[in-house]
């Protein structure tokens, strides 16, 4: 009975909503659902009232109009109701939710640290590697083979992993992602994670979230074995905006560690050989 009522009141599900896969997603969705319920109540109430008026006071039925018209304080009650509801939504849900996103970052040593550097039309993703330190970046080193201008001679950079459009995250662990752009404004949107941040050149803005469903589990849950979490560009960035897609693989901690180890090994090998061939053109 209660469950049925819950389903009935789940407006998000009637409309159809992208699956949720992060820790804070449920609270965002429930705020959205409260707002949807509030909208629906107002809309249904208004429409019913409005249609009644149109029917009741049509000329053929009501040939003589009334100079005074509506009497009563109902509009005041509605207005006060609207104000109170909105105040509650703001004070108790919206403000705390946002404050948590921007003020309560998880401690650095407990979360996965990742940098995202967007460009037309790809997502460059940098992991610090096993040493946990991000290597130095130089503008003059940027070239097609080194899209983020990583200085491989820097000891901290030796094991840095730089991937294009491939973001790996361990499940049930906080991830802190620092987002910027090389050229124009992009927007890093992970719809299933209910996470989004504009990638703005000249600014580095961090976001954090905790993925709670692995890609594998989500495939099972949706009965769709082709499912992938996607990075979607949500800000017009030029002619390739529509295809600026990245992928997120959410996996168990073991799988993630193994993947990092393998990538770091390749990165070290690449660093060893990169000493001479380094140096891009920068005009």
């Amino acid at each position: 009975m209660i469950d049925k009522l819950k389903d009935l009141l789940d407006v998000n599900q009637w409309i159809g909503i992208a699956p949720a896969a992060s820790e804070h997603a449920a609270s965002i969705d429930s705020l959205l659902n409260y707002v949807h319920l509030f909208m629906l109540a107002l809309f249904v109430g208004w429409t019913f009232f409005f249609l009644t008026i149109l029917w009741r006071f049509r000329r053929s039925k009501h040939p003589k109009a009334d100079y005074i018209g509506f009497r009563g304080h109902h509009p005041t009650f509605v207005e006060v109701g609207v104000i109170v509801t909105e105040a509650v939504l703001l004070l108790f849900l919206a403000f705390p939710l946002w404050a948590k996103r921007v003020n309560e970052f998880p401690p650095g040593d407990q979360s996965v640290q990742i940098h995202v550097i967007a460009e037309q039309f790809a997502w460059n993703i940098q992991y610090p590697g096993p040493d946990g330190k991000f290597g130095r970046q130089e503008l003059k080193l940027v070239n097609p083979d080194n899209p983020i201008g990583l200085d491989r001679t820097d000891p901290a950079a030796q094991d840095d992993i730089v991937m294009m459009n491939q973001l790996h995250l361990p499940v049930n662990r906080d991830a802190t992602i620092l987002i910027t752009s090389k050229d124009v404004i992009h927007s890093f949107a992970l719809r299933e994670m209910r996470a989004c941040q504009d990638a703005i050149p000249g600014m580095r803005v961090p976001i954090w979230f905790k993925p709670t469903v692995t890609t594998e589990d989500m495939r099972k849950k949706l009965g769709n074995d082709k499912f992938e979490y996607e990075i979607m560009c949500a800000q017009l960035c030029g002619l390739g905006h529509y295809r600026m897609r990245g992928f997120v693989t959410v996996e168990t901690q073991e799988q993630y560690d193994a993947w990092i180890a393998e990538q770091a090994k390749q990165a070290r090998e690449a660093s060893a050989g990169a000493g001479q061939s380094q140096g891009g053109e920068y005009e």
Binding site: I15, G16, I17, A18, I28, L31, V35, F38, M39, L42, F43, W46, F49, I53, L54, F57, H62, K64, A65, D66, Y67, G69, F70, P75, V78, E79, L89, L90, A94, F95, W98, R101, V102, N103, L139, V142, G149, K182, D183, V184, S187, A189, R194, A195, C196, I200, P201, G202, M203, F227, E228, M232, A234, Q235, L236, L239, H241, Y242, R245, E281
Partner: protein, 596 residues
Amino acid sequence: MDTITKEQPHHDAKDAHHDPMPFWRKYIFATDHKVIGYQYMFTAFFFLLFGFGLVMLMRWQLAYPGRPLPVLGKLIASVLGDSSMPGGIMVPEFYNALGAMHGTIMIFLGIVPLAFAAFGNFVIPLQIGSPDMVFPKINAASYWSYFVGGVVMLASFWAPGGAAQSGWTSYTPLAVIAPTGQTLWIIGMVFLITSSLLGAINFISTIIQCRAPGMTWMRLPYFVWAQLMTSFLLVLAFPPLEAAGIMQLMDRLAGTSFFLPEGLVVAAKSNVIAGYARSGGGTSLLWQHLFWFLGHPEVYVLILPAMGIVAEVIAANARRPIWGYRALVFSTLTIGFLSFIVWAHHMYMTGMGSRISVFFQTTTVLISVPSVLLLTCLILSLWGGSIRFTSSMLFAVGFLPMFGIGGLTGLPLAFNAIDLFLHDTYYVIGHFHYVVAPGTIFALFAGLYHWYPKATGRKMNESLGKLHFWGSFVCMNCIFAPMMIQGMQGVSRRLYDGGATYLLAEPTLHWNIFMSMAAWTLALFQIPFLINFIVSMKLGEKASDNPWEATTLEWSTATPPPHGNWPTLPTVYRTAYEYSVPGAARDFTPQTQPQE
């Protein structure tokens, strides 16, 4: 003002200028507010249809990504070259150009000139009892500035690389590195902004200075209040954008870097990386602040005149006074003020701290309070009426629930946290189109059907009008409601293939064909309107001076109103909406009728 009597001699002197004028003087370089109103109306209507045409092309690409558009596609390619639709297949650059120009044209060349300039010019002097605008020549300059702006915008389609393609918002740095079309966009905007500023100062001066004797502030028709507030919004909000436009122009042409931070690396199409050799030191967010400082009040520039039209039409057709006239006026002033302090809700995802976010969420949500009041007043005005469902009334009452949906769907977007999910999805597109398309545009149609008899002396055909309304009503909803569904699935806006690249979009992709079909059908339902509009000028049912038996001043003069509007200036004795006054002989008491 009250000391001016009807027999002021200077009006006779003025009449000397009212002799018949040669065609070019009367219709081309006109200074009469009504003729300037017509000029604005025809030009804006052309652009409205043109902007609609652009989006119909886009909807082909969205419904059938990458498929050649039969016949028309090749025609466009032959006119605009291979940067548009080679072989009938739209290229991404052209899709982006269509998107940017659809937004720009609909807002700055279609709706604002129609709602503000065309209706404002034609109706305001008539409603306040003035022979003309205070500055007739500035008024003409306003129109011609608009005209030049429109020509520049149209010409930009032939610029190397095509028209502007960085969205109607022209975010930097994208707009700074965009092809030549963007330069023309800025130049066009400078003309359009100048036009709006000239129009707005004229409206403000006229409304303050030229009200007829007895036309006190609280006797003004609500339409005039709405236009007054709109004028203030334009005067205060447009100059920052004009300045920002020039700054962007300098970034593009003179090598400055107002909006370019240090260390930009722009990869060209060819995959060659070139450093953007500038001093840097600018900030790309500055543009967004300056743009949205106009951009948000602009929303109310689009909606307030619409509200004004709807109030006039509702009062005349419900045959009773506007309910809560004062509340309506003060809500409008409040909305106008609040609209200046909500702009950063367009920038929630730029990395906003919690304090700023609290401020902008609060102001944004607060604006819903006067908005609800406005809608309440308009709906309650119908209560106890004797409602006459003319075509214009259908559009006016159709406006109310549509604007309601537009307003309500803005509510979730007002919350910063929800935008983590809905930012720049189709939900946003659905939201603002509900406000502007079945919202404002319906109100504009209501106004056209309402004032057409005053301008032409003939009524438009009611059957065609009703066909136009119901067809448009159904189609508009079929276009914009599915956008909410796509938005809830997380589909981003401005995608050249409508989301086909993304797995995420798959469950809602089939809606793209449905929405496109609805858009094209909507175009078909505009045909009866166009026929009606043109044919009724010659063959429509003849209308008296006051065909709707309305109370406001414009209905008390001859039809069509002569140059100078009145042989002698009217005097106003009562409030604007004295319908169904108990004990009165008729169910309407004109503002010019003396108190007993």
